[in-house]
Amino acid sequence: MKGNSIAPEKILASSEIIDKIEAICKRHFADENEQNESFIFILDRLKADNFRRLRAYKGQSQLTTYVYSLINALIVDYRRKTYGRRRIPASVVKLGKWAETAYRLVCWQKFSFDDAYDILQVENLFAGSYERYIKAITPIREAPCRENPAFQSLNEEVAGVAENPHGADANPLEALIGKLDRQRRVKALKIIRAATETLSHDDQLLIRLVYGADQPVNVVARMIGLSASSARRRLKRLLTQFRKQLLAEGIREP
């Protein structure tokens, strides 16, 4: 689809677009009711104010790419509208920001409590030992969580966190992190995050999308105006920088 002369009603009448909206809703929500609700929400929002969002299209990009980005933005809106109504239980709120984050990670994002501990460490939200953490989370584990039935489990294998089985093989950073013990893992993640934030915007996005989101190098390269081979060379250079910084902090592959 190309051009900005297509009437918005016709865009929404296209089976390709309707199928895409449905597919995106299915990708984001496992629950059938939520899939249907988000689908209707997106259609309503696209039609709202006499198709305002679709009329904003200036014809500079491909129409389909524009519509895909709109649909994805509306999914974020839908999630905020739906989940925004969700409240963290008062018993958790009174424990502080670390507890709210832990609750959000485990109940809403379906991380295990163990993983949440590591993330809290990386985010500098909980400085105490693991033993202290286990004691401290008791009120969180007792708090209600409709979204995640496995909430109260301390088991590492909590379903729902998307993981690519090939991720670690293809992703040198993840492969390294996976081999480290908890303490080193938290330290390494902090180093990687801090190192990424010092890079140029191009390099940051390259690292984030290739190693943090498993996007193909050639696709990200095109976005930042590089050839695929230049992007690969740049990634190699950035990984060497990371490696040096990790080694300087005493982190090496076991």
Binding site: V76, H201, D214
Partner: protein, 195 residues
């Protein structure tokens, strides 16, 4: 994707107060068409705003999944299809050559044929339920379908169906074969289930 690096590298700021990325700029970035200051500003925002970063990621995924997504350029001689094409050409020359020669030297018209009943044939067969076809248009359309399928049949101006044809109801019903025999300007048709 790996959960650890994913979590550590995802921008966390939701940029609640600041303006979010323009969707068309985001689309242009995904297509690799955004340059200059606009790209620089958008990249700065994407490295901070978790919400726009998420939209970017999802859009990239959708564009890659789209049927019109441009395939990764590969030298044509390295593609499997190039090998398949070369093999097909050799096969056609070896097998088809003698047949073409035979066809050119002795091009005869078919007096009988069997062909799988597809939707196009079904439409013609179902047009009227009379066993004998009289409408010239219908007969001409039938002949043109046969020609389109590569059957150069003897001429006929009447068609007689052996028994009435009814559409099979099941979506996964058995395939049907149309048997044609042409004799003295009359095409005799019979539809049977494919065995």
């Amino acid at each position: 994707m790996g959960k650890w690096v994913h979590k550590a590298l995802t921008p966390t700021d939701t940029a609640e107060t600041g303006p979010h990325a323009d969707m068309e700029d985001l689309a242009l970035l995904v297509e690799g068409k955004l340059g200059g200051d606009e790209r620089e500003n958008l990249l700065r925002h994407l490295n901070q705003c978790g919400q726009c970063y998420e939209i970017l990621q999802s859009t990239m995924k959708d564009v890659q999944e789209a049927p019109s997504a441009e395939p990764t350029p590969i030298a044509w001689w390295k593609t499997k299809s190039a090998y398949a094409l070369a093999a097909s050409i050799i096969f056609l020359i070896l097998v088809g050559g003698p047949l073409v020669y035979q066809f050119q030297t002795r091009q005869s018209l078919i007096a009988s044929a069997e062909l799988i009943v597809d939707q196009e044939l079904k439409d013609i067969l179902l047009e009227y339920d009379a066993l004998e076809w009289h409408r010239v248009k219908r007969i001409k359309r039938f002949i043109s379908v046969l020609h389109k399928k590569g059957y150069r049949v003897k001429s006929f101006d009447r068609v007689i169906l052996a028994k009435p044809y009814y559409q099979t109801k099941s979506l996964f019903g058995p395939e049907e074969v149309l048997y044609i025999r042409i004799d003295d300007g009359v095409a005799y048709l019979e539809v049977k289930e494919k065995k």
